[in-house]
């Protein structure tokens, strides 16, 4: 299946689900409120417009004449699996933020990400992973006065 047809079909399916299942979940209780008669259009209008637009454009893409190949779509499964692994690692990083705190979670994530990208020189990985998150936290908290996630691991000066 050509990449464009596949993309168009996915857009159509998601749009239909959005229109049939999603939009009707928006409550229409507001219509019973005082003054509601002045509102000629309600909160469902815009989601319907966006959903119908997506559906029509998805159909246009899926049924139109595809031009050329979308090369990246054909990348081998092993490579794609490694990229998906990185995405999962990023989600794991986010999950660890509240538990460990910004500095430890970032240090751990940086080690794993650098290793994932292929960096094997530990004389580079360790100083960068240990120092940069700490310096970033210092800059955010003390110079910019912005809070970063605090976890169970105490970090000096942060």
């Amino acid at each position: 299946m050509h990449a464009d047809r596949f993309f168009g079909a996915v857009v159509c399916i998601l749009s239909l689900a959005f229109l049939i299942v999603g939009v009707p979940t928006i409550s229409d209780d507001w219509m019973r409120a005082t003054g509601a008669q002045y509102f000629t259009v309600g909160p469902r209008l815009f989601p319907y417009v966006a959903g119908v637009l997506c559906l029509l454009l998805g159909l246009l893409i899926a049924l139109g004449r595809p031009k050329g190949e979308t090369g990246a779509f054909l990348t081998d499964a092993g490579v794609r699996r490694r990229t998906v692994g990185l995405a999962l690692l990023a989600l794991g990083y986010a999950a660890l933020l509240d538990v460990l705190g910004f500095v430890p979670a970032s240090s751990l994530a940086m080690v794993l990400f650098m290793a994932g990208f292929g960096m094997r020189r530990w004389t580079v990985v360790l100083p960068v992973a240990l120092l940069l998150p700490w310096l970033t936290a210092l800059a955010f908290e003390h110079i910019l006065q912005l809070r970063l996630p605090e976890g169970i691991v105490p970090v000096p000066f942060v």
Partner: protein, 498 residues
């Protein structure tokens, strides 16, 4: 005239210039960090102005404002991570140039175009503030809805590649923008009982995810397949020079984007982001070789940067003349004025003329200061390209995580950023442009509000969009944009469907 000269003499005192320089440097640094916005930078600086006089406080805030918008282009060009939403269009060609070893050229053109845009809009502010403010007031809900529809259409159809894919990306952005409380009656939509979703998705994590995180995934995939292209610092000085040919290609785009930026800037609620995308799209539409856009067209960088900085002075027009803040930064500036005991409005030109004079001088000096600071910072900034990608991308991710969290102190926004990164990566695989998604997401809420207000006013009749002259003008422009693009597509210029 005497008062102007007295204000100018006072403004040029060393301490004031020092404060301005500090504001410019802070603005460039904060603007360049993905996740930290100009709004945030200006808001952070307001408490410091409590102990300052009027001139110093205005210089500090105006310096941050202009420099913050410029600063966003630095990270957009160097690492494809726009520091601010207004720099997202700059990354398309700026990053492409950086990948070809011409980051220096892109950064220099960004400075020239930004400074031109800033100075041009200041000139407009000086000459035409009251008249333009009066015109902007003629924009009611129908006019605003028609203008926003035109903007969305133009961004969708001219985003590059297939028109259907560009528009579907914009439609997806509109859909995402409906998450959260309804803007008119407050009904929650697609919140699934989540407190975080009640306010909707924040656009900064979405921006960072769609551009920076998606780029990280793409680069990771390329390094896994061995097709990664090395970013070169550009030891070749000649290739990083802005040549006469570059000027020839860019000057008209800079001038036109300056006008567009001023026009958008004076209209409340639009801001630099839409100006940038319109300026970029218009430069692409008018180009004899539109296929070069997105692949390293220097005029793409010039158009985007001129437009977003032209908003800075123009946004001050409704603020000074009518006391109406056009965007969140000018709303914060209004607060800073009030702290100083000054109330902007039509009478300010009679009662406190030194205030508009200080604003004019501050804007002019801040633009000159941006040029000076940015020029000397180009080489150090380009050093970021020397960092190996295997180290650079994890660092970028960490800064993006910190920036996304800092917006609302919420890990939820970090998840949104990563989710947007995955969506951006998938869209890249299918050659779907992500810029229309972002711009539609930003413009969706004001568009919905204007559309529904217009329909409420007309008792549900859409005729209102065709009877008001300004609204009709933009509706006709929208139809022409679609028609011209479809015609060009049929003639083989660009695909319509796939």
């Amino acid at each position: 005239m005497d008062l102007f000269l007295a204000t100018l003499t006072g403004a040029l005192e060393p301490l004031n210039i020092l404060v301005l320089a500090a504001g410019v440097m802070l603005g460039i640094v904060i603007g360049a960090i993905p996740g930290l916005t100009v709004n945030m930078a200006v808001a952070l600086a307001v408490p410091f102005t409590l102990t300052m006089g009027l001139t110093q406080s205005l210089f500090l805030l105006l310096g941050i404002y202009g420099a913050g918008i410029y600063g966003g282009s630095v990270s957009a060009i160097l690492i494809n991570a726009p520091g601010t939403p207004a720099s997202a269009a700059t990354s398309a060609d700026g990053y492409a140039l950086a990948k070809q070893g011409m980051a220096g050229k892109a950064l220099k053109m960004a400075i020239y175009a930004s400074v031109y845009g800033g100075l041009f809009s200041t000139l407009v502010l000086v000459v035409l503030a009251p008249q333009i403010a009066a015109f902007a007031l003629r924009f009611g809900p129908p006019e605003m809805a028609a203008l926003l529809l035109f903007s969305l259409t133009v961004v969708g159809v001219l985003s590059g590649g297939s028109m259907a894919k560009g528009l579907s990306s914009a439609a997806l952005g509109l859909g995402l923008a409906t998450i959260g409380a309804d803007p008119m009656v407050g009904v929650p939509r697609f919140t699934f009982g989540s407190f975080e979703l009640y306010d909707g998705l924040a656009y900064i994590p979405l921006l960072i995810g769609l551009f920076a995180v998606a780029e990280m995934f793409t680069q990771a995939e390329r390094s896994f397949t061995g097709t990664a292209t090395a970013l070169t610092l550009g030891g070749d000085v000649d290739r990083n020079r802005v040549t006469r040919a570059d000027w020839k290609a860019s000057w008209f785009a800079i001038v036109r984007s300056g006008f567009l930026g001023v026009f958008i800037g004076v209209l409340p609620g639009l801001g630099a982001t839409i100006a940038t995308f319109l300026g970029y799209a218009e430069a692409k539409r008018a180009s004899k070789r539109p296929e070069r856009f997105g692949k390293g067209a220097i005029e793409g960088v010039a158009a985007a940067e001129s437009a977003n900085n032209a908003v800075t002075g123009a946004a001050m027009v409704p603020l000074l003349a009518l006391s109406i803040p056009g965007d969140s930064v000018t709303a914060i500036l209004l607060g800073a004025f009030l702290i100083q005991g000054v109330t902007p409005g039509p009478l300010i030109f009679q009662t406190n003329p030194e205030v508009p004079y200080t604003v004019y001088i501050g804007l002019i000096l801040s633009n000159l200061m941006i040029a000076a600071v940015a020029w000397f910072a180009i080489r150090p900034m380009m050093l970021v390209l020397r960092i190996p990608k295997t180290v650079l991308y994890p660092i970028i991710l960490m800064i993006c995580v910190a920036g996304s969290f800092a917006i609302r102190n919420s890990v939820f926004d970090v998840y949104v950023m990563i989710g947007a990164g995955i969506v951006g990566y998938v869209l890249q695989i299918f050659a779907v442009p992500v810029a229309p998604l972002l711009i539609a997401f930003i413009l969706g809420p004001p568009f919905e509000e204007a559309l529904r207000q217009a329909l409420v006013g007309s008792e549900g009749s859409v005729v209102v969009f065709f009877t008001e002259p300004i609204a009709l003008f933009f509706m006709v422009l929208t139809a022409i944009a679609v028609w011209v693009t479809a015609r060009r597509a049929r003639r083989g210029g660009m695909p319509l469907e796939g």
